[in-house]
């Protein structure tokens, strides 16, 4: 059960959505259950299943290219700026919630790269293997994702400035 708990946490972090995480994990496990004999013989069944969850997430509703377009209203993510010089606990929590919302604006692959790099703590080469791309692409995706989180803020400030002028 510890493994399943870990898998569900991974899925919810990856998807950003509890229901979607449940749907994906249930679907993946229902499939793995049917052919568990083969999967359990693999070098690392747990990694295999996590990879299935990742692939399921990346292909989920792919054709619809759904993006969560969020209104640009409040100050966006440059959390370094938002923080005081000393880590403030309450502010940390606010920042985490805010960043969680911002992550929903990323494309799936970019989000996956961030999750794999910072949550799963994988090296870029391992991420590249999982995603079927080159390490350079991983770095590029990560860079774009981080930039998107920051650029949103700059864009908003520009809009603000233009409105005031």
């Amino acid at each position: 059960m510890a493994r399943l708990t870990s898998l569900l946490r991974y899925a919810v972090v990856l998807t950003g959505d509890r229901d979607l995480a449940q749907d994906i994990v249930q679907e993946v496990l229902a499939r793995t259950h049917v052919r568990w004999g083969r999967i359990s013989g693999s070098e690392s069944p747990e990694a295999y299943v996590r990879r299935m969850v990742l692939n399921e997430y990346l292909s989920w509703r792919r054709t619809w290219a759904v993006r969560h377009v969020q209104p640009v209203g409040e100050r966006l993510v440059d959390l370094d700026d938002a923080r005081g010089p000393v880590g403030d606990h309450a502010q940390d929590v606010v920042d985490a919630d805010e960043l969680w919302r911002r992550l929903a604006t990323l494309g799936r692959k970019q989000r996956a790269v961030l999750v794999l790099r910072y949550y799963e703590q994988l090296e870029d080469t391992a991420i590249a293997e999982l995603l079927g791309c080159s390490p350079a692409t991983v770095r590029s995706q990560a860079s774009k994702a981080l930039r998107t989180l920051r650029l949103s803020s700059e864009r908003q400030e520009r809009i603000h400035a233009e409105e005031k002028s």
Binding site: R3, V12, R61, V93
Partner: protein, 275 residues
Amino acid sequence: MTDHGEQLRETFETHEYLAPDPAAVYARVRELSRVYKRRRRGVQVAGSAVLGAGLIAGAAQLPSVLPGPSGGAGMALPLGAPASPVPSVAASYSQADLDRDWAAYFNAGYGYDDAMQLAALWHTNQNIGNVKAEAGRRLLAGETLPIAPHPNPSPSVDEVAAAADAAALRAFFDAGYVWDDAVQLATLWNLPDPSDAKVAAGKKLEEGQTLPVQPKPENVAAAKESAAVDKFFAAGYTYEDAVELAKLWNLKDAAAAKIAGGEKLLAGQTLPIQP
């Protein structure tokens, strides 16, 4: 790790609590996989003859948001439905559309297995979530789906059994047993499926019996930690509480505080802060 990396890691960890209940998910997966196997076998054997003329008629008008057959490893049925047109409204679908369509689908009493059948009828290897949404969209448009709803295969009796299975599974995993142990137990007990061994073993553990296989100490430790963390969150505590407790107890991080706090709660103790 960079500052950004640290912020992202914290953000991900603070939202782990959103994860669904593992025992319920596992019980549901077992149920689904059984039905999945059974229905797939039945559908493959019976083909269009069993599905009937009404289904074929229903399949004739293909989904507008689902792509046509791709020749991939989908749930293709031996039906002679025409190819799907290019999706016309795909790009305009939003999350709100999906939520609305999924709600319509489930509210009409359809379930996972129905979506599997619909996917086959519509010759799509799209994700089942897409199929559910397409079906919901049609229902909202006043259309009738080509199959009657089979609310997920759990009449009340099955739900009781599923709940009992979930409790047994929780007992099994909480004791530190894992899949490899279930494989051994299945062999010892002449059970064909290690999953059945998990349930049987869990029931024995619930009755206070001991099993002929002992869990590995590291798995026991991992299970205890997991149970403690679950207890911590179930009691209403949050990541920010864990951060506060870590400071109070001089622990290295919030994760350690979640475990320590959960262990105290499991032992019937109270924590120095309220959730």
